[in-house]
């Protein structure tokens, strides 16, 4: 189990160095992405102004406060509360995010499925689990909402966050076929019969 500190963006070699069970802290830049963002990007053909190559995206839709654009704030927003949503709904966007946009890391909660695990293996990527529902803490890792794209989708726009010490996150799916979720799910399926027998419901 290794702890990695990764200033974003990263290379394919760096992401293939991550193993399920390792921990990661991200630095510098993180992009926030959501259901509607990806539906518009991949089903409706909209393109983003951001260069996501080598970057990490987090499954989120933040609570924001409108502020004046000034200095490095090109978004007109400041973060009130930024947390993480359930990733499973966005399973089918993993491969296009990686193939078309060059994304290397997806951060979320609850895990992704086999299709994503194959994409991580084929292209070079990883899924990092953050503790869902711990958004007050997560917000302290966000320095600024630097920029926004597809802002009409607020709060499901594409956000560029400046981050500091974003983690520790758990490598839950890697580019070598490792998935902590698959391991836990297989174990639950294995225990099911004994659980039902004890309930008198086998």
């Amino acid at each position: 189990m290794t702890h990695h500190i990764l200033p974003m963006p990263i290379t394919e070699a760096q992401v293939r160095n991550l193993r399920a069970g390792d921990t990661v802290t991200l630095e510098e830049t993180l992009y926030g992405i959501r259901d509607a963002t990806q539906i518009h990007m991949f089903d409706q053909g909209r393109r983003t102004k951001f260069d996501l190559r080598g970057h990490a995206v987090i499954h989120t839709a933040p609570n924001l406060r409108k502020v004046d654009r000034s200095g490095t704030n090109h978004s007109g927003y400041e973060a009130v509360c930024v947390g993480t949503t359930t990733s499973d709904r966005m399973e089918r966007f993993t491969r296009p995010l990686m193939e078309r946009e060059g994304v290397r890391i997806i951060i979320g909660k609850g895990g992704l499925r086999d299709g994503s695990l194959e994409a991580f293996r084929d292209i070079g990527g990883a899924y990092l689990a953050v503790v869902g529902g711990a958004a007050a803490l997560e917000t302290t890792w966000i320095e600024a909402v630097e920029d926004v794209d597809l802002d009409d989708l607020n709060p499901e726009a594409l956000y560029k966050f400046r981050i500091k010490g974003f983690g520790p996150l758990l490598v839950a799916m890697d580019s070598h076929g490792g998935s902590l979720f698959a391991t836990v799910n297989a174990e639950a399926a294995r225990r099911r019969q004994a659980v039902l027998e004890k309930l008198g419901a086998a």
């Binding site: 947390g83 711990a134 803490l137 309930l199």
Partner: protein, 302 residues
């Protein structure tokens, strides 16, 4: 003939303005301060958890509760679908239509003024009005109690990750209670980490299809430590609590003992041909806030 009150007893009158203020306050408070019974539930799970990763995750969740309170911030970014349970006691006078509008206005003001993320959209166009309101939302459930001169409003911001873990099956009598138990265990396995465990697994047994699902929601949002009033239901929730925590799903679905704080069961009589079961899940950010209106004033709690 008097239609409104018993002779000699002045009804408790509640103005819509007070309800609007309470609705606004409760939505924001619920998003920030976790009830004491949930905090105690975390301490209990943390004490009994044997998996190292699970212990780390529980510690992060407990730390987050403190950070939210110290920084006066939201526990979770999901402001949920706002649900208001209105419990009207005896000898209470309130304009029901005005009450519903006051709750919606309070919800909208909380969303705009704090500000909170509006998580509510039109179901077909997906348009977000940025008010946390829309057709039939906030969800308002009105019921009546036997408490004299008291009106209670409970606010629940119901997060979507756990709400998507909702399941109904119209089982039949020949399936028996064994099928009810299997349904709960299998749905907890299916939900895995997606519903943000450790959870409260709400189970509805009996009633009609809609009542059964409502019972599951009531069960999922009941305080920890409370028991099903029906003895058979109480026995079922004890057995199922042990069962789901034997599956190894753990906090966030990453393994461990702490899959659920508890399984809660609510029951209702059903038809001779029916055996409905529903599951509705509450995530670990099991948020609630309440305002109780009495002749002495307004009491804010969980």
């Amino acid at each position: 003939m008097t239609l409104m009150t018993k002779p000699g007893i002045e009804p408790l009158r509640i103005e819509p303005e007070a309800i609007e203020e309470a609705a606004k306050l409760l939505y924001i408070r619920a998003c920030k301060i976790l009830p004491d019974d949930i905090k105690a539930g975390f301490a209990r799970l943390d004490g009994s958890e044997t998996d190292a990763t699970a212990k780390t995750i529980l510690a992060t969740m407990i730390e987050n509760i403190g950070v939210a309170e110290r920084m006066d911030n939201l526990l979770c970014q999901d402001t949920g679908i706002p649900i208001f349970n209105v419990l009207v006691g005896r000898n209470v006078q309130v304009d029901g239509w005005a009450l519903k509008q006051a709750i919606a206005r309070g919800t909208e003001r909380a969303t705009r003024d704090h500000p909170l993320r509006s998580s509510v959209v039109h179901p077909i166009t997906r348009r977000n009005e940025h008010t946390s309101c829309g057709e039939r939302v906030p969800v308002i459930n009105i019921d009546f109690t036997d408490v004299e001169r008291e009106l209670r409003i409970e606010m629940i911001p119901k997060g979507s990750g756990s709400e998507n873990g909702s399941f109904l099956q119209m089982l039949i009598p020949a399936d028996g209670v064994a099928a009810v138990k299997r349904f709960v265990v299998d749905r907890v396995i299916q939900a895995g980490g997606k519903v943000c465990p450790p959870t409260i697994v709400g189970v509805g047994v009996g009633g009609t299809s809609d009542l059964c699902m409502h019972l599951a929601k009531v069960a999922a949002t009941r305080p920890l430590g409370s028991r099903c009033a029906d003895a058979e239901g109480a026995a079922l929730e004890a057995a199922l609590s042990e069962a789901v925590n034997s599956l190894g799903i753990g906090p966030q679905g990453l393994g461990g003992d702490s899959t659920a704080f508890a399984v809660h069961v609510e029951t209702a009589a059903t038809h001779i041909t029916m055996n409905p079961v529903a599951v509705n899940i509450q995530c670990h950010s099991a948020r609630r806030a309440s305002a109780t209106f009495t002749a002495d004033g307004i009491r804010i709690g969980f």
